[in-house]
């Protein structure tokens, strides 16, 4: 199986965390907050595109709002494959951390 890149993992996780509220801007804000770094819109959409191609997320359009200049939002949702992928990632990382001393100490 092919592994995801770090940004893809982060975006995937964020979509999961935001649940119903996951659309471009929100995902970006969340990722920026969690990583503490500046993320441009483009750098969110590239992983989003790839995740969608790989079938881990699904998107649908929602109603437009005035502050978006009348443009609709595109909401993202995890698919089953996406959910499975997240579990897989978590499992792998835990396996790798198993028995290692906590680095924060």
């Amino acid at each position: 199986m092919k592994y995801l890149s770090r940004p893809e993992e982060m975006v995937l996780l964020t979509i999961h965390r935001l649940d119903e509220e996951a659309y471009g801007m929100n995902i970006r804000n969340q990722v920026s907050e969690l990583t503490g770094k500046y993320w441009s819109i483009g750098s969110i959409y590239v992983p989003l595109d790839r995740l969608e191609q790989k079938g881990f997320v699904q998107s649908h359009l929602a109603n437009p709002t005035p502050e978006r200049g009348g443009k609709s939002k595109r909401y993202y949702k995890l698919t089953e494959a996406g959910m499975k992928e997240l579990k897989e990632i978590k499992k792998i990382y835990s396996a790798f951390w198993e028995g290692l001393p906590d680095l924060s100490i």
Partner: protein, 871 residues
């Protein structure tokens, strides 16, 4: 609370350009959401930190998106490219005649431009190879306070200037004189005449970048009788080994060879084969004190090297201020080294390497005109054929093509055509370059096409001609309305279209007519110059210079050869009619103290006036019967008498001494032309030669058997002076060579005229084939209704002939004024008569009619049954 709420409700759209870029680079399906996100983010920043920050943020993103934007745009635009290519090639194949006309016209036009760009590139490269070229100036002088003659420049400089200028003027770092000589080299018993020797100061090698191959640049020119050879001369004289340290015998003196230098590049305004140390001059010159005087000047070229970042005018002023006392009659002028070739303007400069910027302008405009004519062929033919492609446009538009896409397609098509024509023109250039070199007397190399800036020029030609020829057809074709064209309605814009086509034909034939008229006038003028009565006899006269011992023996030689029946008369030694380069401000009886008239002086032999058959208006010729003639007699030309305003001049005092004129005027002669016919005759004073400084002779031959006579002279000459070669030229040929630039111009004009007419006719032929094809049905119907063949020819050709008559009418005034301007360069010019205009219009009409007649006759004679059964 309320304000915050209000504020948060306020929305602002980001700048339009940002939205444009974004929508272009984002994927179509996502475009809305992404730009939505962008606007949301923009608004967030706007709410939090204000409009300015939002704008800055936006700007930052615009700049950062440039690379992606360019890549995306490119990728998008190439998607249809292969289709454009395919259609373009199919069109070329399908319309063979149309493509042939376009490609031939364009490639001929491009060949002209490539050749001309090569030429201009070379012309502008003159003297630029010197490392310090920007700081090198030639110093020339101009006489001040002359009557009626302003600003003529002379490169005769006082020799002392060289040391004075470096000492007194801080901005001038180095200076060198360069004196040309004609010498005889005696190399192991063989005699060679060499004209390319220059006597220069040691600084010469430091100012100019002529690299020494061997020898020490610092010391090579310090000692008298030191000599540096170019590679070619080293090979010529010392093919068998290293010449360094050897000795070469020049004019009976031994010169030591102290260096070998690379050959002078051809794009130099002056050339040399030998450099000799200037200190030698002090030993060989008859009167060395001359070199140290301010008020006497021999022909030195003077070059200075200024320190960097100095302004030419400042140095010039500084020099003139500093030497004001020494230079009463004249002022100095500086000429930047790199300007000399194009803007010399110096009288009696070495013309072989001097050109004129006007020729560059003239050639450039001709090249542009020819390319335009070729491009216009494309425009007129493509619009004429546009109906055939209207369906394609309709289908493309229906399938979703924007107007922009269509414009791009047709421009790409014409650029493809241009590239194709360009490839052909590269081959043409290769084969025509030798011919062009002959024409312009340059030595251009084919491989320099691919060097340096040339590439941009060539690229420019392709793109420009592609765009010009594609522009109008693209705009026009892309404006078709799909509904109309698919239904077969083709009305809109056809009037405007035929207007464009007719103006193109008018323009093309106007240019052709102008060129024909101009070349006829140029031809007439050249003919006029060549056959003009110069005021003295020049036929069957051979001239030449003598050196050394022959100067003393010339009298004996003269007596010996005069017996020969082939020789009519001998003149010598003295100044020749075209050699009056000696100038001064003379003094005369009744002269106001501030009157200054610049005279040319001629020191001649007794028989000068008889020999050259110059007409005496008044007074008597020089005569040996009057002993005083040798010292006192002056003969003036008419212009001189008018210039000094003497009434009853015979017997009046005249001379060069500023205190008291010692001579007197004995005769007035009719003006004869002693310099170029570009200039009016100047004041001239002739006197008998008093010193043996002159070395020119002239021999008048019998017209029969002149070749034998010359052989006889050669034998006799070598008998008298075995150490010197017999060297001669025909006077009339030498005079002709003064007009070589004009003759060149004449030839160039003829050739380009031919090309312009040719390309115009190609276009006309294409257009007439198209229109007569359009009108086949009309012709058929007319014939059925009883039109005669003659009437049909009249109907078909009426319009075109009318256009050409318009073209001729517009060409007349333009040609008249531009040729008047050109003729004003000549002091002796023809007046523009009506004959060239009549010939040119006749010629244009005949050529045009011949071009269209084939096609029109074919259509007019066609069988009605065939034409009406067309579909």
């Amino acid at each position: 609370m309320k304000t915050i709420l209000e504020n948060s409700n306020k929305t602002k759209s980001p700048p339009k350009i940002a939205r444009c870029i974004l929508s272009r680079i984002s994927r179509y399906a996502y475009r809305d959401n992404i730009s939505g996100d962008f606007e949301e983010l923009y608004n967030e920043i706007y709410r939090e930190s204000g409009l300015v920050s939002a704008y800055i943020w936006c700007l930052k993103h615009i700049v950062r998106s440039f690379p992606v934007f360019i890549i995306t745009s490119f990728r998008r635009s190439t998607a249809m490219l292969s289709n454009y290519f395919k259609i373009a090639f199919r069109n070329v194949k399908r319309n063979k005649a149309f493509s042939f006309i376009n490609i031939t016209g364009l490639s001929v036009g491009m060949t002209c431009s490539i050749l001309i760009i090569l030429y201009i590139n070379y012309e502008l490269s003159f003297d630029k190879y010197h490392k310090k070229a920007d700081d090198i100036y030639r110093v020339v002088l101009t006489w001040t306070g002359e009557k009626g003659r302003g600003g003529e420049l002379y490169n005769v400089m006082p020799g002392i200037f060289q040391s004075a200028v470096t000492r007194e003027i801080p901005e001038v770092l180095l200076a060198t004189r360069a004196k040309t000589h004609e010498v005889i080299i005696n190399h192991s018993g063989n005699l060679f005449k060499e004209t390319g020797i220059r006597y220069v100061d040691p600084d010469f090698l430091e100012i100019f970048s002529f690299p020494l191959i061997s020898g020490n640049a610092e010391t090579a020119l310090n000692e008298p009788y030191s000599l540096i050879l170019t590679e070619d001369m080293a090979k010529k004289y010392f093919s068998d080994g290293d010449p360094l340290g050897k000795v070469l015998n020049i004019d009976k003196n031994d010169y030591k060879i102290t260096g070998i230098i690379k050959n002078v590049p051809e794009n130099s305004h002056f050339t040399f084969d030998f450099l000799a140390s200037f200190t030698t001059m002090f030993n060989i010159y008859p009167d060395p004190a001359f070199i140290h005087k301010w008020d006497s000047s021999l022909s030195w070229n003077m070059y200075i090297l200024a320190s960097m970042n100095t302004i030419k005018e400042e140095i010039e002023n500084n020099i003139n201020r500093t030497f004001d006392e020494q230079t009463q009659d004249y002022e100095f002028r500086l000429q930047p080294l790199t300007d000399i070739h194009m803007y010399s303007k110096v009288k009696y400069d070495d013309y072989s390497n001097i050109s004129d910027i006007r020729y560059v302008y003239m050639l450039t405009s001709i090249a542009v005109l020819i390319i335009l004519i070729a491009c216009f062929n494309y425009i007129s033919l493509s619009t004429a054929r546009s109906i055939k492609r209207a369906r394609e446009v309709g289908i493309r538009k229906v399938s979703g093509a924007h107007r922009f896409n269509l414009i791009r397609q047709y421009i790409i098509e014409s650029v493809i055509m241009a590239i194709f024509a360009f490839t052909i023109s590269i081959f043409l250039t290769y084969f025509l370059l030798d011919f062009f070199n002959d024409l312009t007397s340059r030595n251009l190399e084919f491989k320099s096409i691919f060097r340096g800036n040339m590439i941009y020029g060539l690229f420019g030609i392709i793109i420009l001609s592609g765009f010009i020829s594609g522009s109008y057809p693209a705009l026009f074709l892309s404006s078709f309305k799909p509904v109309n064209v698919i239904r077969g309605i083709m009305k809109s814009g056809s009037n405007r279209n035929s207007l464009i086509r007719s103006s193109i034909v008018v323009f093309q034939f106007m240019i052709s007519t102008i060129l024909i008229i101009s070349s006829l006038i140029v031809f007439d003028q050249l003919d006029f110059i060549r056959n003009r009565d110069l005021g003295f006899k020049k036929d069957y006269i051979i001239c030449g210079n003598v050196q050394g011992i022959m100067k003393d023996r010339f009298r004996l030689f003269k007596e010996a050869i005069v017996e020969n029946p082939g020789i009519k008369e001998v003149y010598g030694l003295g100044v020749l009619p075209n050699g009056m380069h000696w100038n001064s401000f003379p003094n005369w009886e009744g002269k106001e103290s501030d009157d200054k008239v610049y005279f040319a002086l001629g020191m001649v032999e007794y028989n000068f006036i008889d020999f050259f058959k110059i007409e005496i208006m008044e007074g008597r010729n020089f005569s040996q019967e009057f002993v005083s003639d040798l010292k006192e007699a002056w003969i003036l030309n008419e212009t001189a008498v008018n210039a000094i305003g003497l009434e009853e001049p015979i017997g009046k005092k005249f001379g060069l001494s500023q205190n008291e004129p010692s001579g007197k005027i004995i005769a007035i002669i009719k003006d004869f032309n002693f310099s170029s016919v570009h200039k009016n005759v100047e004041p001239l004073a002739l006197c008998l030669k008093r010193r043996d400084w002159f070395n020119s002779y002239a021999i008048k031959l019998n017209s029969e058997n002149s070749a034998n006579t010359i052989n006889y002279l050669k034998e006799k000459f070598e008998e008298f002076a075995p150490d010197y070669p017999f060297d001669y030229f025909f006077l009339d040929e030498s005079l002709d060579s003064m007009y070589r630039a004009e003759q060149k111009l004449g030839e160039i004009f003829n050739i380009f005229t031919f090309i312009a007419v040719f390309i115009s006719c190609l276009g006309l032929f294409g257009l007439i084939s198209y229109t007569s094809e359009q009108k086949t049905k009309e012709v058929g119907i007319r014939k059925v209704l009883g039109s005669s063949v003659g009437q049909i020819i009249y109907i078909l050709s009426k319009e075109l002939i009318l256009w050409i008559i318009y073209a001729i009418a517009i060409a007349f005034p333009i040609a008249y004024f531009s040729m008047s301007a050109w003729l004003n360069n000549f002091a002796y010019r023809i007046s523009i008569g009506f004959i060239p205009f009549v010939i040119a219009s006749g010629l244009t009409l005949i050529i045009a009619i011949l071009t269209i007649s084939i096609q029109i006759t074919k259509t007019a004679l066609s069988n009605t049954v065939d034409t009406l059964r067309f579909e």
